[in-house]
Symmetry: C2
Subunit: 658 residues, 2 copies
């Protein structure tokens, strides 16, 4: 039975939840396929996550391996293939709680970096799981800066082998997933030396464990790097190489080859490599970043209409906490952000697909823009969504702090996304470098990519809004965002020029501008996110109330951004103080409007109770009952030796002994 405080929220939805779900999925047929996959996975007890919050790191790892192996069987049974429409929903339905993700990266790196011969040899072995692959790039001492990797691979002409070594401790491979305990093979990135000359970083296939008994191969020291904030199910590992010899054929050689005599040959274009990083950054947004925020919103918003605390009006019943303006101001902007970034994800996917088509035609023109947008949005979205999940957690008070709420795990998991696949600050600076370049080009009248043409159109106008309702006009706020992005880019470009002209060396000047460059990159992405949301809303069908509620969310996303960052808009007077008061008024008004549809808006994300795995967020809102039931299963409710050992002696006569 549904908690009536939650049930009543669904009675008054201003739109069709089912239609919105279909919109998010990309069509009703996609919704049907997704639900079928979720149903198949969740009804299979082998995939259960029931006691996950009580498990140790070892137990989580074992379960993830079990699930990965069982998944092979399941896919066969269900007729799901890697190219089928179901495939993309499997990982999501498992909530990522499965091993061998790096096995896929191993395979992809061979497909992209390997010669045809290498692909023909290794891919079938990997596909049939005759080996388990990993991907060993990051070292203890190097993450971001790949050129600085210290592992060495020296070519020995006599034996036609590469000799791999970890010359010092900072060169030890560190972090690779699936490598700590599972992998038999890995792709090692190392500095290639031939005849004493260094040719830079290259990838090598190295076997690290026996296929017979899984013991470490000669010269290999490997293990698990221990506990992390999350990802207990993944055996992130370390790897130390001591004169490990591999055949010449194990250097992945699509782009570079070492001939038997030691001649180094470079062939083909490596530009595609950038594209691989771009692909990765875009592909993680949906499952690794948006899903956690959507889940956190679902949990926190459902809880906030079930939880009653204090009185809004004396004499009345205690109020649902979502009726407090401060609670709305915490949660509803996160909900709006989840929608905004869902639509930006669509935008990036489309851009990416177009880019891919061009690249297949050997046209690499779109690469810089794609790289800039995927880097910037990876940083902005992971940062914003991580902050959003934390806000949801804190908005649930003490119960949010219990692992049983599901919120702590969502937070500790999404937090990693700010770090992996490019540290966010580094990525934003890459976007900024693109912006500065384009700004200079545009100022000089040269053509620039579509997403930055606006940089050429520097306007010194003022915001034309006359009353608070004007700020519900997408033209008004999109223009304001654009203005700020241009101002921050142009002023930082000017500072950079000034410094260089005053004699500061180029690299120092760049470093001295980086705090402001990061601001410019964020403003650029924020502008595009707002613009894209507004354009998406415009294209929606007006029926079933969908367009109307999406328009409210778009307004909220835009106005929350202004309200939280007023200085950027006030700085040069583009928005005046009086107008900023209108923004605030409109923003606060919107909270009350969207609050009415808050529960239907999270229902539309269509998470099952099993996928939320939250005592606070279930569809029926039976929060307290579930917390109690779950807590009783905790291993901390088993008998502890602490009583016999310490408490009993203390209580009986500990002090008399002193």
């Amino acid at each position: 039975s549904v908690n009536p405080d939650l049930g009543s929220e669904r009675q008054t939805a201003s739109f069709s939840v089912e239609k919105l779900t279909a919109l998010l999925d990309g069509g009703a047929e996609q919704t049907r396929i997704r639900r079928a996959v979720v149903e198949a996975i969740e009804s299979d007890p082998e995939f259960s996550r029931e006691n996950q919050y009580f498990q140790t790191q070892n137990e989580r790892y074992e379960a993830a391996v079990r699930k990965a192996v069982h998944l092979q069987k399941k896919m066969h049974e269900m007729g799901w293939t890697e190219n089928g429409p179901e495939y993309k929903y499997i990982y999501r339905a498992l909530s990522g709680d499965v091993a061998f993700l790096l096995h896929r990266v191993f395979m992809r790196s061979i497909s992209v970096l390997g010669s045809d011969k290498q692909i023909a040899k290794w891919i079938p072995l990997a596909t049939q799981h005759k080996l388990i692959g990993s991907y060993a790039q990051t070292e203890l001492g190097h993450g971001t800066y790949l050129q600085g990797l210290e592992t060495t691979a020296v070519f020995d002409t006599a034996t036609q082998e590469f000799i791999l070594n970890t010359p010092k401790i900072s060169a030890m491979k560190w972090w690779p997933g699936d490598m700590g305990r599972s992998a038999t093979h890995t792709v090692v990135f190392a500095q290639l030396y031939v005849h004493g000359k260094c040719y830079g970083i290259h990838p090598f296939i190295v076997q690290i464990r026996s296929l017979q008994d899984h013991s470490l191969c000669p010269g290999i020291i490997a293990g698990d790097i221990g506990p992390k904030m999350n990802f207990e199910h993944i055996d992130n590992g370390y790897l130390l190489l001591k004169n490990v010899r591999i055949p010449r054929e194990n250097m992945l050689s699509k782009f570079c080859e070492v001939r038997p005599d030691g001649t180094y040959v470079r062939q083909g274009s490596q530009k595609i490599n950038y594209f691989t990083m771009t692909t990765l950054r875009i592909s993680l947004i949906s499952d690794e970043v948006l899903m956690p925020l959507m889940k956190a919103c679902t949990i926190a918003i459902r809880y906030s209409v079930v939880r009653r605390q204090s009185k809004l009006k004396p004499g009345e019943q205690e109020a649902k906490i979502l009726d407090y303006q401060t609670q709305q101001e915490k949660l509803l902007p996160q909900l709006a952000a989840a929608y905004a970034y869902h639509f930006i994800n669509d935008y990036l996917q489309e851009l990416f697909n177009r880019g891919y088509t061009e690249i297949q035609r050997k046209n690499f023109d779109m690469l810089p823009e794609l790289h800039a947008l995927s880097s910037g949005f990876k940083a902005v979205i992971t940062q914003h969504c991580t902050a959003g999940v934390e806000i949801c957690l804190r908005a649930c008070g003490g119960h949010g702090y219990s692992l049983l709420s599901g919120l702590p795990s969502l937070y500790t998991k999404i937090l990693a996304s700010c770090i992996y696949e490019g540290e966010n600050t580094i990525l934003l600076l890459q976007t900024a470098r693109f912006l500065i370049k384009c700004f200079m080009a545009a100022s000089a009248g040269q053509p620039v990519p579509p997403s930055v043409t606006y940089l050429a159109a520097v306007k010194h106008g003022k915001c034309p809004a006359k009353n608070k309702l004007d700020f519900l006009s997408p033209d008004i706020y999109t223009e304001a965002y654009q203005h700020v992005a241009v101002r921050l880019t142009s002023s930082t470009a000017a500072k950079l020029q000034d410094l260089i002209q005053s004699g500061v060396k180029k690299h120092d000047a760049w470093n001295q501008c980086t705090v402001q460059l990061v601001q410019a990159a964020k403003a650029h992405c924020h502008y595009i996110a707002v613009k894209n949301f507004a354009e998406t809303v415009e294209k929606l069908e007006a029926k079933a109330g969908i367009q109307k509620i999406m328009k409210h969310l778009c307004d909220l996303f835009a106005l929350h951004g202004i309200f939280s960052n007023t200085g950027a808009f006030l700085h040069d007077g583009y928005i005046s103080a009086a107008q900023m008061d209108m923004v605030t008024a409109s923003y606060l008004d919107l909270l009350a409007v969207i609050r009415k549809d808050a529960v239907p808006l999270v229902d539309a994300f269509d998470f099952t109770d099993k996928s939320l795995n939250s005592a606070l967020g279930s569809y029926d809102g039976q929060v307290y009952q579930r917390l109690y039931e779950w807590a009783q299963k905790s291993p901390t409710n088993q008998m502890s030796p602490a009583y016999e050992r310490y408490l009993k002696p203390l209580l009986h006569n500990a002090l008399s002994k002193l």
Copy 2:
């Protein structure tokens, strides 16, 4: 041996680290005592935290109980007493990793709320650990709003007993520390009913477990609430009462008593109760909030001079990451905040002591101000420090995400401080209520408490700064903070008045202003923190370079606050756009200045390696070596059954079976 990249940072300190440590401790003698306590605790293997990051919740609990029991012995051995100068350093030296903290709250609540007779009976029992106490206030359904607690205590005249019940699931006690597994007794807060009439919430001493065999007493259902984000060592518990009868004498009756015939008598003043909450909120700041931030700064800053990544200048060695402006901008403001809040803590302590003296003279005049300041600062400091620890964690990239860095635990621990002892938003609204009240009084020419007299002096001037150096003048920036605090308070008071005059009911009007009221309360606290830091710096001796470096930190704290919140200062033109550019310039300049002393500034916190318990933050900076050594000890490096069960069959022939 110290990593030379770290060692070199210490050569160039502009001040005496030892003198700064003494300043932070409140004198060299205090430093001596603290170090002696730390030495005694850390050299005792019973208190070791060595394998903490590898332990399960059960193991952590058992260790905490063991330590708590051992601590009794240790104190006796060392001659430490609860009133001695060593006492306050014990908990810190243990990093809070000890059980029975609620036992102290149990004792304090009896001392404060109990009659002399009750104190005479229970305190000796508790002191001698003939029982283990807890404190059962929070329920599943109620935290913040104490009046809403649902547990009942019905007086039975016939038997002279109270009958305690948990009438429904939301009334179950939930969260009390030490209650899940350890406590034998607890103070239960319940709605008192006599002859069918409800007299509101009162405290009752209830035995929950047998003193003989620790089994649950009749009518008691209790256990552990399960895993949380941190506090694995604490057995936060649940408690369900079914017709539990306790003698009339067990109602704590300093202020209220039920006579044998059921007559309810209220006696004495309960104002002191507010003071108890104030005490608690102030007392937690130092150990629970500042220590984690100071530790996080120490870890992140030491790591940032050891970690080298990428090149600042082509052709040179890779740069220490602390030399990047963006890294400085992440870490150095957190360092400044740690100092700022250390000094505010001194300020609050002093205010508190004065208040206490007055209260003992039956003068309660200072209570509202004390309550407002302790509430506001509890919220502002916990929020700011929590964000600071998260920034430190993220600034260490992947290694910060490893539990072995110590940063994840610091974060998950400090996060709780935003929730316990008053949820932050609620607390800020209490401060805001005080501000609005005082603003109205001041506007009407009535006297107001010292900390808010500035509200009367509404000025409409402009900031007089003419160049970027002017913003290094404490008068200039303190005035700016004051201006913003007045503006936000007065404008929100005006909005509130307008709403009420336009016919909105008082409670609705308040709710519609809460987002802005929270801003006003934060601005008030921020102003006082800046002012107090500036005044503290002025009083410091000029010698040994201490005053100079503290002045830099004070400037940084103030300018970072403006830089991060430009809109508040730009809004009414108090600071112009041109002046804001000066703020930015001065702020960025300061980063480079303070960066030079960053390591000495964290060294002055004087944390031992054991207290940091971090593979990244140790005094010698041997980061990679330590990560590797520690990881090898992880239980995830023991043999896993996953190989025999899942991997071997898969690798040998899993797919051929399908």
